[in-house]
Symmetry: C2
Subunit: 314 residues, 2 copies
């Protein structure tokens, strides 16, 4: 039965195509939208700026970019009633969006729970891993909800799609099934799906962490967006940790057909050999190594990848 | 392609069986876990009591019922650090749960957003409906997250599965596809899926509201639980609105093979003809009519249905 289920998934994936081409997959880096050094704290300022910039780049008719069709009608703290004026919702042009998919990282959400319990290493039969799996999902889905709300306040018709709940799983930490048909249905209906790094079931080791970057690579392969944008807290990829004195920003990296990458700009001698990659201890998804290699795989498909700093005017 | 996708879903549903029989599907009634007259307010006291009672009834080894393996490791307000003692997580018996599925209603969440925009009537091409769809989902998924957290605090390994994100859709307001295989996978892995009434896509009218009661009926048909329990804010079904003076509690209702229902206890003459059913204006899912007829369909399958008041000791 496991086999048949997987086949059905695979079949679905092969059939998949969007009604309208996919403009862009955006990665909201965890470091850009949360406060790295404070557990479970959102960087509200950055999130608001990102949401507003995203709306501008998604809208087809830019002239109405001043007007916002708020889509989070939740009760505000301290206010007992919600009031919606339906007259505000008559401007049809406010619904003309290019096709986008958003995937966010976890930042200071989820990592603590995952690393304390070892969810990424599997072993669901252990109470600590099982509890950690539940705790990790609570943390990342609460971040997902807040991001969906911030986007909806800016008029982006966003739909939270937690990967575990929407059909993503792995085998030996590689994607075994993916809820791509659901993502396509959401995009085709004029919504913006918002996925994220999540704890998922793994056929071999029981469970693991599926990173947002791996999800993006998979979606990019199947749905062929015009481009993929990684929004992060630094200006791009550096030759060593960007906090180190003398770190050099790598302005353009080329990826050849074999997936090897080389630095195009700046043209420093032997630069390639000097690139240092470090992984923070609390990062259960592989840190910069995963990020760069996933970006390289996307570029290899012929899709331009941009790495952009959020809130770069500060 | 639409056709093929639906066939794949159908195929999955036919293949579905659980590793271990399903003990129970529990409906947490919206009226029991939220404050009916206050928008987006959870009835914390009831939710805590329900969660604790659910844990007791789920656990196989009742002797350790005093000990709780907390699974919500979120940061508490006003506390900057989270500390988890992994020694607390060594008792393997705390993971022996009977197979349960939980489905909750929306109560004072979602209904306002759905009724203001007419999401249940469809028409996603209208800005107000599209915004209302997003707003409804934000409201019900935020309730789902809080319920998952309350259950996890009581040691129930709960997994939020918002129906729209996990593959449920309708055609002419009837279920067209259902994410049952995902629910089965979650149960088979030892978790408790937590679904809810949700805004979903509808092949015919664009979108609608899929009620928790319809989801339960569908799951009961396919997964044949030993029993289905509806937890609500009243002692059961009355012959007229329970707030009316002289309302009589119907202690046992029998459903025949044709789906007709009759009152077994109390044995009042002509009771059947006197039953009055009212639907509140803000209820977009059909109120008591839907609830009783869905319960009757489940009973017709030969599955006992219990309607129980939450927190009945008060």
């Amino acid at each position: 039965m496991e086999e048949e289920k997987k086949e059905a998934h695979q079949e679905n994936n092969n059939l998949i195509s969007l009604k309208k081409p996919l403009r862009c997959i955006v990665k909201l880096g965890g470091a850009a939208i949360t406060c790295k050094n404070e557990i479970e704290k959102i960087n509200e300022e950055n999130l608001e700026i990102v949401s507003s910039h995203l709306r501008e780049s998604m809208m087809i008719v830019s002239s109405s970019s001043e007007k916002v069709l708020g889509m989070d009608w939740s009760k505000r703290p301290g206010v007992s009633e919600i009031s919606i004026s339906s007259d505000d919702y008559n401007d049809q042009s406010l619904l003309d969006f290019n096709n986008f998919i958003i995937v966010h990282g976890a930042g200071s959400f989820g990592h603590f729970q995952a690393s304390q319990s070892g969810v990424h290493k599997g072993g669901l039969q252990l109470p600590i891993v099982k509890a950690g799996f539940v705790a990790t999902r609570i943390s990342v889905t609460s971040l997902n909800l807040e991001i969906v709300r911030a986007l909806a306040r800016e008029g982006i018709p966003s739909i939270g799609m937690p990967p575990f709940a929407s059909g993503w799983s792995t085998c030996d930490r590689k994607i075994a099934s993916a809820g791509v048909s659901q993502v396509v249905e959401v995009v085709d209906s004029g919504f913006v799906p918002v996925l994220h790094g999540d704890a998922v079931l793994d056929d071999l080791q029981g469970c693991t962490i599926l990173s947002g970057d791996v999800i993006i690579r998979h979606l990019a392969e199947l749905l062929k967006p015009q481009y993929v944008v990684f929004l992060t807290d630094v200006y791009g990829v550096y030759d060593r940790p960007p906090t180190d004195p003398g770190a050099v920003l790598l302005r353009e990296i080329a990826v050849d057909d074999d997936g090897n990458w080389s630095i195009v700009k700046p043209t420093l001698q032997n630069m390639n050999k000097q690139v240092e990659i470090t992984v923070a201890a609390h990062d259960t998804t592989g840190g910069m190594v995963t990020k760069i290699s996933e970006a390289a795989v996307i570029a290899k498909l012929g899709i331009d990848v941009y790495i952009v700093k959020v809130n770069c005017l500060r």
